[in-house]
Each structure stands twice: as C-alpha cells, then as structure tokens.
C-alpha cells in the first residue's frame, strides 16, 4: 500500500488483505477532479501494473475510507474473476449497436405519435446512441453496486454511518439525473433507468437493513407513493405517471435482485468467495437485461474489447443509422 495519508485501522487491514489476496499493490491517490464516488484504475481493466484508487481531495476522513472500501471490494471481485474464470464486461459491436438503436427508435416512434411537441429529427437520431450508451454504462455499473455495498456493510461495520450517508446522498442524486430529459426520451427508457435505481435502493434498504434508504422514504418524487390508499389509487391517475411506473417496474427488478443476490455477505474473504460474487453479479446483470428486453443489445467481452469498441463508436453509430434509415441518412 502506498499513501501519504492517515487511514483508520480497519481500512488499513482491509487494504492489506486485498493486496495479499490479489498479490498486487494498491496505490491510493487524492485527486481534486475525482468524482464523489472516487475512481478505480485496475490492472484487470486497464494496462497498469498497480491497482489505483482515486478519491476526491476534499475527503479526508471516513468518507475517504468508505470510498476506498467500496473500490477494494470491487477490485477483489474483478481480480478474483481475472484469476479464475476470466474477467468480462459488457461491450458492443456493430450488430449489437444496431439492435439496440433500432429498438430505441421503434419505442421512440410510439411515444412521438402521442406527443404534441415533436422532437426534431436530428435530436431524435442523436438520442438513439446516447441512450444506448447510457444503458451500457448502467448495466456495467449498477448490478455491482448492491453487491459491493452489501459486502462492505457486513465486513466494515465501523463504516456503517458513513455508508448510510453516502447511499442516501447518491440515491437522491441518481434519481435526479436526466430529469430534464423526461419529456424527450421515450417513457419506457426513462422508467427503466429510474427502476434500476429504485430496485438497488430498496434491495439495500432491506439487506443492510436501513429503512431510510427505501425510495418512497428517501426520494422526494416517490414519497407520495408511501402508504398510498386504494381510494387514492382509483381517484388519481398515478398509473400514468413515470414515477409510479418506475416503482412498479422497480418492484419487479427488486424481485430479480432478491432471487439472484443470495450470497453470504459476511463469509470469510477468499479468492473463491469473490469469484462467486462475480458470478452472482454476472447472473444478475443477465437477468436484469432479460427483464428489460435488452439481452441482445450488449455482449460479454474482455475489457480490451470494450475500449477498442469505444474507439469505433462513431463508426458503429453511423452504420446503425444507415441500416435503420437506409439512404435517408447522408454520409
């Protein structure tokens, strides 16, 4: 472990345990530009010989320790996978981009028919790939979040108060994201995006347990659905609102999470244990994609495939547009 900052005793032991299990040094770095959740530059995804954890410079105490704990846990999952079955992420190619963008286009068409103010064609075309990539990012990150947090909660008991603050903060922030696009993006995708966060928060509320994390308690837009009476449901058109739909879809996603995330969160640490968590995460990701009918949108590949695909994203987007719209799209 290389760092110039003080660390609390439990986090020091956890870092050492992570290094020992993965047989690789961890470098901790403060960075003024790091996002609130920090960043992980790991040897299993990038071409680096050390695992690097970056965290915001303003985090000096337990906030920093918690960010490190989260990333160490994720690191263990990735490293264990790399050392056993192989570490894979969701990536994309020409065909998968076409399938995803085409589906989004068809759904957007259905929504546009009902809209009074139509979306300009250029904006609609632009939105297809943006939405596709947002879901790629979400499916590569979100399923791992409840897994990592459940493990950290049971392994790092000293960080529970810190964890609760960060989860409450992030839950609100995630739900607030992309609000300005509610009327632009197809309803189905707005709802699915919010549903994933809803399910994650509700899963953690039950698993940790922490009632405050329940979305109908923590998320301002969802508070009105707490203790909703049958009479209210009948007299108000709740079912027509995106937030109510997010709750319904989110409840279904929670059932998927509960079915697939059945790990022993306080089991002793070992490579086999973390490799098992990786399999659990893969399984959950596949099932969430199936539920969202996006199974053929993305492909499991080595991390190198994803970075190569990112370099070709412009080409793939153009190709997909050509295949959807034919000659209507100019080069």
């Amino acid at each position: 472990m290389k760092t110039t900052m003080p660390l609390s005793k439990p986090i020091r032991s956890f870092i050492l345990e992570t290094e020992e299990l993965l047989n690789k040094e961890i470098l901790l770095m403060r960075n003024p530009e790091a996002p609130p959740g920090g960043s992980l530059i790991d040897a299993y995804t990038y071409n680096v010989d050390k695992n690097i954890i970056l965290f915001p410079s303003s985090y000096i105490g337990l906030l920093k320790d918690f960010v490190i704990a989260q990333h160490c846990t994720h690191l263990l999952i990735k490293g264990a996978a790399a050392n056993t079955s192989g570490y894979r992420v969701f990536s994309f190619d020409k065909d998968s981009v076409y399938r995803g963008m085409r589906q989004i286009y068809l759904d957007a068409l259905k929504d546009e028919v009902k809209k009074e103010k139509k979306l300009p064609v250029e904006k609609l075309l632009e939105m297809l790939f943006i939405l596709y990539r947002q879901f790629l990012e979400a499916i590569n990150e979100l399923p791992w979040n409840p897994l990592v947090n459940a493990r950290v909660y049971y392994q790092m008991t000293q960080l529970r108060k810190t964890q609760l603050y960060i989860l409450l903060r992030d839950g609100k922030k995630d739900m607030d994201e992309r609000m300005e696009f509610e009327d632009i993006i197809p309803r189905r995708y707005f709802v699915l995006d919010k549903s994933m966060f809803y399910a994650r928060d509700l899963f953690l509320a039950k698993t940790l347990p922490a009632d405050q994390l329940t979305p109908v308690v923590n998320i301002p837009q969802m508070k009105k659905f707490n203790h909703l009476e049958v009479k209210e449901m009948l007299t108000t058109r709740w079912t027509h609102t995106a937030w109510y739909q997010s709750k319904i879809f989110g409840d279904a996603m929670l059932a998927i999470m509960e079915k697939h995330l059945d790990a022993d969160w306080s089991a002793p640490a070992s490579i086999d244990y973390y490799a098992g968590l990786y399999k659990t995460g893969v399984d959950l990701s596949n099932n969430l994609l199936s539920y969202m009918t996006m199974k053929d949108w993305f492909i499991w590949e080595k991390p190198g495939h994803l970075s190569a695909a990112q370099d070709k994203k412009g080409e793939y987007e153009k190709d997909a547009l050509k295949r959807i719209f034919g000659d209507l799209i100019a080069d």
Partner: protein, 153 residues
Amino acid sequence: MVTAPEVQNLLKRGKAYILHTKYKDALAVINRALQIDPGSAEGWCIRAAAEIEMEKYTDAVADCDRALAIDPNYAEAWSKKGLALYHLGQLESALTACTRALALNANDAAAWYIKGVCLDDAGKTDEAEIAYAKSLELEIIRDIDAEKKRVGK
C-alpha cells in the same frame, strides 16, 4: 518594494499546487514567499503541508514548530504537526498536537480524524469512535455545502 499581497499571492499559488499534487512547484513558490516574509506563520504551515505530501515528515514538524513559534494559537499548524507526528509513529505527541488543534478550532475534521486514528492505534477504541464520529459529522456538513455549491443552490 515587497508587499504582503505578493506573499499572499505566492502562498495561494502554493496551496493550488499542493491541491493538484505538484509538490515541487508548491515548494518553489512557498520558499519564495518565505524569503520575502520569514515571519509568515501561514507560509511555514503551508510548506509543512507540502512536505507531508512529499513524506518529509521531520521537516514538516520543524516547519510547524516555526509557524507555532510565530503564532502559538495557529490551529492549522497544530493540526499539520499532529499529522506529521503520526506518520513518524509518535502517537502520543500526535495526539497532543491534535488536541491542541481542536481546542483552538473544534471544526477541524482532519484533526478529529487523526486523533481518532491515533486513539484507535493506541487501543482506545471507544474514544476513537467519538473522534471519528465528530470528524464524520464535519465532513458531511462540508460535503453537503460543496454539493450545494456545485449545483448552484
């Protein structure tokens, strides 16, 4: 003619360099400021901060002592001294320095945290818990303020 704003400006640049992990550049401008005004307690304290990042802990303690000789009630210098002493493995002295820092400024989240770490390492778990809790409380307030600033509320 040398003016205090020049020194302030150099120190401000030094702090910015530290924030962006450019410690050598930081030392260069801070040294210039200290050449101009060796009586700047803030200058010695900022230099100590850069030295801590460069793992020059003994130098950092010496610079904190210089700052404290100029202004014995300089909370930040006590706090930095606590951190440097902690790295030197002098837990008791680090604890004393942090306690002094907190007596002068009870809102120093870093000092509470270092105090917690020292107490924890000394096996005083219950006392460490209290210090950690205080540090977390202050960090959360700071984090909420930063978030409000970020979203422009």
